[in-house]
């Protein structure tokens, strides 16, 4: 934070707060011993205590545990640990309630896992701990990551920090809102069809969906195994690069992780995009696109051009089938993934006279309506007699969608689109209309089906009300560094990331 923004926040009545720091700002000051991990975590805790009753990003926050981890980071620094060894030393990172942390609750926003405490760390959590990070609280989400507004959480909805009457997006709504409201320095979410990028766009922060196989899924409670990836929410692109680098890499515990080398992403942020070809898919200029979103994204594209990028129109001809394909593949996998929540071994149990009754009572009481809807849909598309027409066909279309992207990437380096068709909508506005809700992921879903990487970054605001708008950049498989660099160039050239929601409680 530079002096002028310090003055600005001072004048706006907010005392200078360490919780507002980005990861890289924190690390440089922490390393210079200007600030401690304890006071930074303390600052995040104070902020959360003050704003979270209104935002409700957190489901659970163990303050003594967070402070103990911060103290450990301070001790390590004092005893001479260097950031090469602990690249995220002392950084408070909050975690979506779908990622397992040993001895912490793991609820997935569902009643069926109420009071469940996980006995093990997800691989990404092990990596964060090894890097010295402070694992900071559990974040709200749509139940089992099924939703686009966080209204499907069994534990109450999360509010958008820019407008408390609006949703933060989903399913990682808590992860986006917590970062946007400066309750933590960064967070982890998961993205199955846009669940990182869409809420990042609606809350005005950076959200990154890595290439499928880039980050281990071990310890991520599966929604749709062939689509899920864990990724970071951050305040800056540099932070996303730092966090991504830490959590990436092949994992012996996840057979679908890929042994592709992990580059030093942060050092590849040159800001140089001269001659870079940016594809603009003509199929994404759809009827339902909000005019303010369209205008803002057009402006962003012009700015990218001014930075040296070359805009190329491309075609992704199977785009119109993406949503249908997604809701067959994802629900089919989910119907099996969620079968384990049966009341036999852990979580909620509602007793019955026999196993069948126990199952139906437990699952009837434990799952919310959207989860039930998707389990039923997934069970249907896999049923004998329907499998070929739905699941098998969807897999074929999925291959075509991936080929669309691979062909496009023969001509362009990145693809740019709006992240969402509209800015954040009002709570309750779409919750009675699942199809409308599904369409809010229309620009993000193809990326998961194709298994490529994508990022959403702030690119401006709507007028009244002032709501963030996100620019999505899609990259080649394992082309993380390219989209990060384009995003970084854009961020440094525009500065939208410095805008903060005015929260006064």
């Amino acid at each position: 934070m530079d002096f002028s923004s310090f003055l600005k926040s001072w004048n706006e009545g907010e005392s200078f707060m360490l919780n507002q720091l980005s990861i890289s700002e924190f690390l440089s000051r922490f390393q210079r011993r200007e600030i401690s991990a304890r006071e930074t975590v303390q600052s995040c805790l104070e902020r959360t205590r003050r704003v979270d009753p209104h935002i409700h990003a957190f489901l659970n926050l163990n303050e003594p545990d967070a402070l103990a981890q911060a103290d450990e980071a301070d001790r390590r620094l004092a005893s001479g640990a260097d950031l090469g060894q602990f690249p995220l030393l002392g950084v408070p990172i909050a975690v979506k309630d779908v990622i397992s942390v040993k001895d912490q609750p793991l609820g997935c926003g569902s009643k069926i896992l109420k009071n469940f405490v996980s006995p093990y760390d997800a691989t990404v959590i092990q990596k964060l701990k090894t890097a010295g990070a402070v694992i900071f609280g559990r974040l709200n989400m749509d139940e089992f990551a099924m939703g686009s507004s966080t209204e499907n959480s069994a534990f109450g909805l999360t509010r958008n920090p820019w407008d408390l009457t609006r949703i933060p997006g989903g399913s990682s709504g808590g992860s986006a809102a917590a970062v946007a409201a400066d309750e933590c320095l960064a967070s982890l979410g998961s993205d199955t069809g846009g669940s990182i990028r869409q809420p990042a766009a609606l809350c005005g922060c950076v959200g990154f969906k890595p290439t499928y196989g880039r980050v281990s899924r071990y310890g991520l409670v599966a929604f749709a195994s062939s689509l899920d990836q864990i990724g970071p929410f951050t305040k800056t692109i540099r932070d996303a690069a730092l966090l991504l680098e830490t959590i990436s890499g092949v994992d012996a515990a996840d057979s679908t992780s890929v042994p592709h080398p992990v580059p030093h992403y942060a050092s590849m942020l040159t800001g140089q995009i001269k001659g870079l070809r940016i594809g603009l898919p003509k199929e994404y200029m759809i009827a339902g696109l909000d005019p303010q979103v369209e205008k803002t994204v057009q402006t962003a594209l012009r700015q990218l051009q001014e930075l040296g990028g070359e805009i190329v129109e491309i075609s992704l001809p199977h785009t119109e089938y993406a949503v249908a394909t997604y809701y067959i593949v994802a629900t089919a996998e989910a119907s099996a993934n969620l079968a384990r929540f049966d009341g036999v071994r852990y979580g909620l149990r509602v007793d019955g006279a026999d196993p069948i009754e126990l199952y139906s009572k437990t699952r009837g009481a434990g799952f919310g309506p959207e989860v039930k809807r998707r389990i039923i849909l997934g069970t249907y598309v896999l049923s004998s007699g329907y499998y070929d027409a739905y699941y098998l066909r969807a897999q074929k279309v999925r291959t075509l969608i991936r080929q669309d992207f691979l062909k496009a990437f023969e001509h362009v380096d990145v693809i740019a689109t709006p992240t969402t068709p509209t800015p954040a909508f009002k709570a309750g506005e779409k919750s009675e209309d699942p199809l409308q809700m599904y369409l809010s992921d229309i620009f993000t879903i193809s990326c998961n089906l194709a298994g490529i990487c994508g990022i959403s970054l702030p690119c401006g605001f709507s007028d009244s009300p002032k709501l963030p708008i996100g620019l999505q950049l899609l990259g080649k498989p394992f082309g993380e560094e390219t989209i990060l660099n384009v995003a970084h160039a854009y961020e440094q050239g525009t500065g939208w990331h410095k805008e903060k929601p005015a929260l006064r409680f």
């Binding site: 397992s100 093990y120 599966a222 049966d342 499998y387």
Partner: protein
């Protein structure tokens, strides 16, 4: 009408691996309930399976031993069904693309070599075990995730006895290959049966009926012995058989309906997205080819033809592989392999059992058995004396020639000495001599025995016979 049975078997075998199929938990029978468990085999939220490579290797090895193709790629699918012993409420199994397929198993049956085709041998995971108490039930997940091979036969089996012999032959192959310990008591082998009957000569198959819940090979035979006449009777009475699953009742010795086709499960198979397809490389396959062993039937046939052994001897060496190996190290160097087999089977094995000695702890060098047989065949010692020499050799490790020399056991063929023995025996046994002269030839054997006894076994029995006969007739 004359009916014939058409039988196919699905045999589940637990693989002999150190750890389970998807996690590092021990694959071990008999541990206290729920002690070999972890988040992965309990299906906790967020866990992922990682395939056990040794289980994949044993599956491919089974394929090679059962003359199967190894397709270029195999993959796992999810078989969805709810049951308390299935931790994830789906079982991971190779449904669409098994590791091996299209093979056969040959075995001896009714004095011919029978061949049963193997549709596939595919890899999956075992499930936990349910226990029912007075007021509640429990599940032991120690077995959940143990690698399980399902070997599916074509419906080539025509009788309960043939099914029984197939299962035993299959078990022998699996034990031979080190694939499974096949301990029935520990539930390492389980078998389901598919059976239909049809008028002999008809090509079209009858309604397929599956029978479950047999817990031994003889249980399979008994279930078939019950089920085949039952189906024939239904048809003979003008009834109709429908596809169904029946349960074998081991106490009542009957089968009873479990579920009919209308209530059959829809398992909603689909590719397991947590595992990548497995594509065996040539070097991986080479490593497995090096683990291929000679199968029991081939070994028996080879022992019989290469060494002119009778079937029971060859079978002994098939059952006791190390003993067969011991024999094979000697047999090619002997003019009389059959005698070597006799000594190894009748004497060596008995002595080893009696003294609790293993093949590796023998005091004498294997070659000494060659020497011993050579001493017998050249007439140096009698078979009787050879027993004593062997006993001494077993106890001390000394060569038989040394023992014969030391103890003065060389056979006496000197006719002078033998004539003396014969004269004495004839004189001492006038009644037997008279009997022989009166035409009772059996009396000669008695006199011969007396001479052998008098010579302490050292007299050459052939020479004794000749001299006695000459003297009695003369």
């Amino acid at each position: 009408m004359d009916y014939e049975a058409v039988i196919g078997l699905e045999t589940h075998v637990q693989l002999r691996t150190v750890s389970k199929m998807w996690c590092g938990c021990a694959n071990e029978f008999g541990a206290p309930p729920n002690t070999n468990i972890c988040p992965v085999c309990l299906g906790f939220p967020g866990v992922l399976p990682v395939a056990n490579d040794e289980a994949l290797r044993l599956t491919a090895l089974t394929g090679l031993l059962l003359n199967c193709e190894i397709p270029p790629a195999a993959k796992f699918d999810r078989k969805n069904y709810f049951y308390p012993d299935v931790a994830k409420n789906y079982q991971i199994t190779q449904y669409a693309m098994p590791s091996t397929r299209n093979g056969y198993l040959e075995f001896e049956f009714e004095n011919r070599i029978a061949r049963v085709h193997i549709t596939r041998a595919h890899l999956e995971e075992d499930v936990g075990k349910n226990f029912h108490f007075d007021r509640n039930s429990g599940v032991d997940f120690n077995r959940a995730g143990v690698p399980l091979l399902e070997i599916v036969s074509e419906p080539d089996i025509t009788s309960p006895d043939m099914a029984y012999e197939y299962l035993n032959a299959l078990k022998d192959v699996l034990i031979y290959g080190g694939i499974s310990d096949c301990d029935m008591e520990k539930g390492m082998v389980r078998c389901d049966v598919n059976i239909s009957v049809r008028p002999r000569g008809q090509r079209e198959l009858g309604a397929k009926i599956e029978i479950k819940n047999m817990n031994s090979f003889s249980g399979v035979r008994k279930a078939l012995e019950y089920e085949i006449p039952r189906q024939i009777e239904v048809l003979n009475k003008g009834g109709k058989l429908v596809q169904e699953t029946r349960r074998w009742d081991d106490i009542g010795n009957i089968t009873e309906t479990m579920r009919t086709k209308e209530h059959a499960h829809d398992y909603r198979y689909f590719p397991e997205p947590d595992l990548m397809p497995f594509e065996p490389t040539e070097s991986w396959l080479d490593e497995i080819r090096r683990r291929v062993v000679e199968l029991p039937l081939a070994r028996k046939q080879r022992f019989m033809s290469a060494y002119q052994l009778p079937a029971p001897d060859a079978e002994t060496f098939v059952r006791d592989v190390p003993l067969g190996g011991y024999f094979e190290a000697l047999a090619p160097r002997s003019k009389n392999p059959k005698a070597i087999a006799n000594w190894v089977i009748n004497n060596l094995r008995a002595k080893m059992t009696e003294s609790q000695t293993g093949l590796n702890d023998l005091k004498f060098k294997p070659e000494l058995i060659l020497d011993l047989v050579e001493l017998i065949d050249s007439g140096k010692i009698s078979t009787r004396i050879a027993q004593d020499v062997f006993g001494e050799m077993f106890a001390t490790g000394d060569p038989p020639a040394v023992i014969v020399e030391r103890k003065g056991l060389a056979q006496v063929s000197d006719t002078g000495a033998i004539e003396k023995f014969c004269d004495d025996v004839i004189a001492a046994n006038p009644k037997s001599a008279a009997d022989f002269r009166a035409g009772k030839t059996a009396a000669l054997n008695f006199l011969k025995g007396q001479v052998m006894k008098a010579s302490k076994g050292k007299a050459n029995p052939n020479v004794v016979g000749e001299i006695l006969e000459r003297k009695l007739k003369g």
